[in-house]
C-alpha cells in the first residue's frame, strides 16, 4: 500500500465503500457456495432431495417377502416356531436380511450373533415396554451376563427350561 495515499479520501478509499465491498463479497461467496451445496433435485417434490426417492426405489431389496420364503427350505424350523411365543416374528428380525441368501443359498450364508444384546432389543426392561405384552428382564441380572441361548431356544423360547409356565 503506497504510503503517500494513506489518509486519502477518494470514494474507493472511504470506509463505507470498503466495508460495503467486503459485505458484498461475503454475499457473493455465500450465493456461490449455496449453488454448489444445494443438490440439483432439491425441492422437486418437497423440502428434500428428489433423487433420494429414486435412489431408494432402485436399491436392492435386502429382506424377503415373508416367512413363507424361508419355509421353502427350513420347514422344520418353521414348524417348531408354530404355536409358541415367537410365531408372529419374521425370521429375519433375528437372522437379518436374507434376500441374497434365498438367491444363492450356498454362497451367501446368514450369520446370527446369539448374544444377550440381540434378545435385549426386545426383552430388556425399559419404561416404554409393557410387561403384560412381552416378557422383559434386566438382562445382566437375569442371566448373569450369559447368553440367553444357554437356556432358551429362540424358536421355542420356554421349551428347554420346562414348559409353558415358569
Amino acid at each position: 500500500m503506497a504510503k503517500a495515499k494513506e489518509g486519502g479520501s477518494g470514494f474507493t478509499r472511504s470506509a463505507l465503500f470498503r466495508i460495503g465491498t467486503l459485505l458484498g463479497l461475503v454475499l457473493v461467496i455465500f450465493a456461490f457456495v449455496r449453488t454448489t451445496a444445494v443438490p440439483a433435485s432439491f425441492g422437486e417434490y418437497g423440502r428434500y432431495r428428489g433423487d433420494n426417492i429414486t435412489e431408494n426405489v432402485n436399491k436392492e431389496a435386502g429382506f424377503t417377502k415373508d416367512n413363507s420364503v424361508c419355509g421353502k427350505c427350513h420347514q422344520a424350523e418353521l414348524q417348531t416356531l408354530a404355536g409358541n411365543e415367537h410365531q408372529a416374528l419374521n425370521c429375519e428380525s433375528c437372522h437379518g436380511p436374507g434376500n441374497r441368501h434365498t438367491e444363492q443359498p450356498a454362497a451367501v450364508s446368514l450369520k446370527i450373533t446369539e448374544t444377550a444384546e440381540l434378545c435385549s432389543s426386545c426383552h430388556a426392561e425399559i419404561a416404554a415396554r409393557s410387561e403384560d405384552k412381552i416378557a422383559t428382564v434386566r438382562p445382566f441380572m437375569h442371566s448373569g451376563g450369559g447368553d440367553c441361548v444357554m437356556c432358551h431356544n429362540p424358536h421355542r423360547p420356554l421349551a428347554r427350561i420346562g414348559g409353558e409356565v415358569q
Binding site: 470506509a15 463505507l16 466495508i19 419404561a127
Partner: protein, 423 residues
Amino acid sequence: MEGFIYPNEIEINWGLFIVLYPYLTGLVAGAFIVSSLYHVFGVDKLKPVSRLALISALAVLLVAPLALISHLGKPLRALNLMWTPNPTSAMAGFGYIYSFYLIIVLLEIWFMYRKDLVKWAATKQGFMGKVYSILTLGARDISEKALHTDHKVVTFLAILGIPSAAFLHGYVGFIFGAIKANPWWSTPLMPVIFLLSAIVSGVALLIVVYAASCRIRKKKIDFDCLMTMNKYLWVFLIFAFVLEVLEVVHLAYEAEEEWPAVRGLITTVIPFEYFVIQLGQMVAAFFLLLAARFESVPKTVRKFLTIASGGMILVSVLAMRFNVVVGGQLVSKSLSGYSEFHWPLWHEGVIPTIGFMVLPFVFLLALVRLLPPWMAGEEEAVLQPASSAEDDTPAVEGVWGWLVSGVSRSISRLGIRGLWREE
C-alpha cells in the same frame, strides 16, 4: 419419574446445551441494549461500558450457536439451514436471524473502532500492526468529515440493532411459546418474557464484567456508570419478574385442564429451581438493587450490593432458562406424570456446558486484547481500604444504625425526587 408418562418422554431430548442457547443469546441481547442506551438514547453515564458492552456481546454471540451446533450431533448439517431456508419454520430461521445480527454487531464494532484501528495500524509494529492494517480494510481516512460519517453509521446501526436484538431474542422465546402441545411453554407472553429476562441478564453480565475488568486492571469503577446500570437493571427486573409471575398466575386463574400439571411441576418437581433460584433471587436482587440506590448507604456497600445483585441475576436467569427448557419437557403430554432429568457429565453434560460458559470469557479476553474497549480518563483505583474519604456518611453506628437511618432518610426523599432522577 412419577405418575403416568408416555414412552418417548423418558429421555429429555433438549438438554443443557439447549438451556445454554437462550441463556447466551439473552446475554447478547442485553449487553447490546446497554450499548444502544448510550449510542441511541444518549445515556452518557454509560459511556465507560459502551464499548465493553458491544465487545462482550460479540464474545457471547460467537459462542451462542456453538452450543446449538454441538447439540445437533452432526454439526455440518447446521449449514443446511443456510443453504435451504425454510420460511415456514421458526426454528429454521435461526441461521439467517443470527447471521443478520452478527453482521450488525460486527459492522457497529468496526465503525466504532475505525479511528483507533487506523491509529494502531500506523503506530504498532510487527504482526499486530499487520493485523490492524488488515482490519482497517484500507480505509484510512480519519478526517473530521469521515469520522462524522462513522458516527452517523454507528448511530444508525445501533438504532437498527435494537429491533434486531429484540427480534433475535424474542424469536428464541417465540420458538418455545409456539409449541402448543406444551402447557408450560405455550403462551404468547413467551417472547416478551424471554426478551426481558435477556435484557436483565445482559445488564447483569455487564455489571459483573465491568466490575471484574476494573478489578483486574486496577482501575476505579465509575460509580455513576455502575449506578445507572443498577437503575436499568432494577427497572427491567421489575418487568421481567412481573411477566414471569403473570404467566403462572394467569394459568392458575384460568385453571384449565393443564394447570394441575403445571402446578405439580413447579411445586413438586422443580420447586427449588423455580421458587428459590429463579424467583427468589429476582426478589432478593430487587431489594439489594433498591438498597444500593440509597445515598446514605456507604459507596463501597452500594457497589458491592449492585455487583452481587448482578451475579444473582445471572444465576437466576440461567435457572429460568433451565426451568423453561428442561421443565417443559418434564411435564408429560398425558398431563398426569413427570419425567426425570438426569444430569449427564460428558455427553451434552455438565462439563462441556461449563466449558461453553467459560468460552465467552476466553473470547472476551482475546477481543479485549485486540480491541481495547477502555475509555480514556479512567481513575486509578485507590488501593487503601476503607479510608472512606469519598463516603460522606458519618461513622457507622453498627449495621443496623445506617440501615435504619439510610432507609428512613431515603424514603422521605423518594416521593419528591423519584428514583429516576440521576443525581
